[in-house]
Each structure stands twice: as C-alpha cells, then as structure tokens.
Amino acid sequence: MSSPTALIIEDDETIGEIFSIALKEAQYDPIYLRNGKEALERLSFLQPNLVVLDLHLPKLPGATILRAIRSDTRLNRTQVIVISADVSLAENLRDEADAVLIKPVGFYQVRDLAKQMKIDLANPEES
C-alpha cells in the first residue's frame, strides 16, 4: 500500500528539507515546492492527503492557495497545516486550515502533528 502524499509549500529551502524529512518519518510521501504559483498548478492535478503551507511565498500568497484548496471539491479530504512566522495572518486562517503552527516549529512537532492528523482523519469520531 502506497504512502499518503504530502505537499510542502515553503520558500525557505532549509525549512523545506526539515519538513520533508519530518513528513517522511510520519510515513508520508513528501513533494517539496518553493513557490505558490507552481504549487497551485500542481494542485490542479494532484490530490495530496496533506498540504504543509507557508504563507509568505513568492509569486502567490499561501492564503490564496488555502482558499483554492477549500473551494475545490476534488480536494475536500486534503488536510492543510499552515506554518508561518506571521502570527496575525496565520491566526486569521485558523478556521480554514486544519491546523496552524506558528514558527519556530521543530522537526518533532511537525512529525508528531502529521501523525496525529493521519489518526484523526482515520478515526474522526475519536478526535
């Protein structure tokens, strides 16, 4: 059985790598993208189980991507974790995202949250 797919959209390469490895450890198959426009193009044909989304992105802001995901019925089972250093912007998206983390976040935190979200998705009545 193949691993669930996770799309990481993050412009900082080091952080992108950290999240990629954390999600691999959480048994996801990560795809890492650095800009918002490319992410939106990929989302037109990909159906990731999880999206890890930064907000301040080149070419297209993260909030636009989140709204695009939420308005696409094809992606209605896609979970989104917003991870940003912009506290006020991130807080404004709390209702639309499945989880919001404010940077700094660590490798373990991302790994554990991704694992927990997979459990929540599998057992919605327990969450």
Binding site: I15, I18, Q116, D120, S127
Partner: protein, 331 residues
Amino acid sequence: MNWQSVLVILFLFLIAEAATVLAVKRICQRETSEKKQKPEQAKPFAIQRRKYLNRAVFLRDTKSERLAEEAISLAQAKTEFLAKVSHELRTPLTSILGVSEMLDYGVYGPLSREQKDAIKIITDCTQHMARLVTDLLEQSQLERGNFKLELVDFVLEDVIVRLRRYTAPIARAKGLALQFEVSPEVPPILHGDAQRVYQILHNLVENAIKYTPSGQVKVRIFVKDSTHCAIQVSDTGIGIPKEMQSVIFDPFLQLNHGGNGNGKRNGKEKSNGNGSKAGHDHPSNGFGLGLSIVKQLVSLMNGEIQLTSDEGKGSVFTVILPILIASEQAA
C-alpha cells in the same frame, strides 16, 4: 497602558516640568540682576515676567500634551518593532531547531552520547528562545491599547480537539496522562473569543505538563452559574510554594524553589520540540509571561482566575469566564 509606558510618560513630564522651572528661574535671576543694575526698568520687566510665566504655563501644558502623545506613539512604535523583530527571528529559529532535532533524531547518522548532549543544549536553548519570542509578542499585543476581543459563538468541542492535538503528544512524550472532562450540562456552543479561550487553556495545560514530572494533567470544564463556565486545569506536579502564589501571575516574574531544580512555575524555560524532559538548567528561565498572559486575557474577558496548590502534590488553576449563552441556560 503598561507600567513601562507610564514610567516613560512620567519621565517626559518631569523633563517638561524641569525645563519650565529652569526657564522661570532664569527669568527671576535676570529680573533680580536687572533690578540691581537698572531699577527704573523693574516694572516693565515684571510685566514681561508675568507674560513669560503665562506663556511658560501655556507652553508647559501644550508641551506636556505633545510629550504624552509622543510617549504613546513611542510605545506603539516599540510594540510594532517588537512584533517585527519577533517575526523576523522565527524563520532562522525554525531552521536551528529543525536541524538540531534532526541531528538528535539521527537523520545525519548516529551520534555519541556527548554529541547528543551537545545537541540537546542547542535544542533546549532554541526552544527557550522561541518561547521568549512568543511570550514577548503576546505580551506586546496585550500592551496595545486597541486589543479587542472577538466575541462569537463557538463550538467548545473544536477548542478541545485543537488543544488535545497540540498537547497530547507533549504529555505522551513525558509519560503523563492527559485527561479532558466536559460536564454534560455544558452547552456545546459557547459565546466568547474562541482563540483567547484556547490560548488560556493552552498556556495552562502547557504549564501544567511542564511542571509535572509524573502522574497526570486533567482539564475539567463545568458550569459555574447561569452565565459562567469554569475551566479547571489540575496537575500532580511540583506545586507552588504558598509565599509565591500571590505573585505567580505577575509579569516578568521568575520563581525559584528547591526540589528538583526545575521549579520555575511560570517561567518558560527549556523544553524540546517533542516535549521530552528538560535536560539542562539555564541561568535565565524566561520572562515569566505565560501565566501573566493568562491572567490578562481572563481579566479582559471579565473573568477571574483562582489557584490552589500544595508544594510537592500539584496545582489547580480555575478560570471562570462569562461564556455561557443566556438562552442556552434558560433551556
């Protein structure tokens, strides 16, 4: 307005006052000296002095107002600067923390005991700094006079789910039981600032987990009266000494008490990303803002907070908030 802003304004008032006094004093000295040298010019100069005094009073008033405005503006600029600095620090801190934890986890190969210890210091310090940045930002946001609560109907269960999601892994990593109990009489929909209610719960639970070496942390939510709900966070942790309980919510307070050398109840010190036990003591244990922020938020919501604690046995924090919807209660 916080005490620092008040101090700044007082300081500026004092400067304005001192400048006026000096100016008047100089005029008086000039008058005396003129009187000695040219007695015939004494009268015109007295008129001039009165005019000057009136002007000085006027100038003092307008200057004070202007200085007060400047002080407020400076305080706002400070808050904005702090928010900007906090924001800019978060990205590099994420890299430091993430890479350190990956090293610790063995992503780049196995480490010796000494290397792991060294990495632990880096992750602990980074977490510590991250907490400082977060607390400072929250405090600065609270210090802004225009802080507004967003009162909406919210689903309590959503708050609990979110809280469980973020705190359960930390409690699990420490081997603690984390329990949630919502009394059946609590209506599913409450009314208040959901994000701030969550923040209160989060800070209290995080604090309880941090100072509980073994046993359990329990969250209870129950109806207090027709308009108030009680949120109670209890733990089997190290407790708070009696003499410290009256000051535990003060901002910028750090408490020390003996035992395991880890007794800073409201300091936001070491803790690594997966919440495992702290490994190294730091000379500083944060700004002591976690519980202070809770108290400020509770106060903004017109609620109250109570604490009972036995040293060595644990603590119980009870927050009472007016978040029940009247119509729900009538039912």
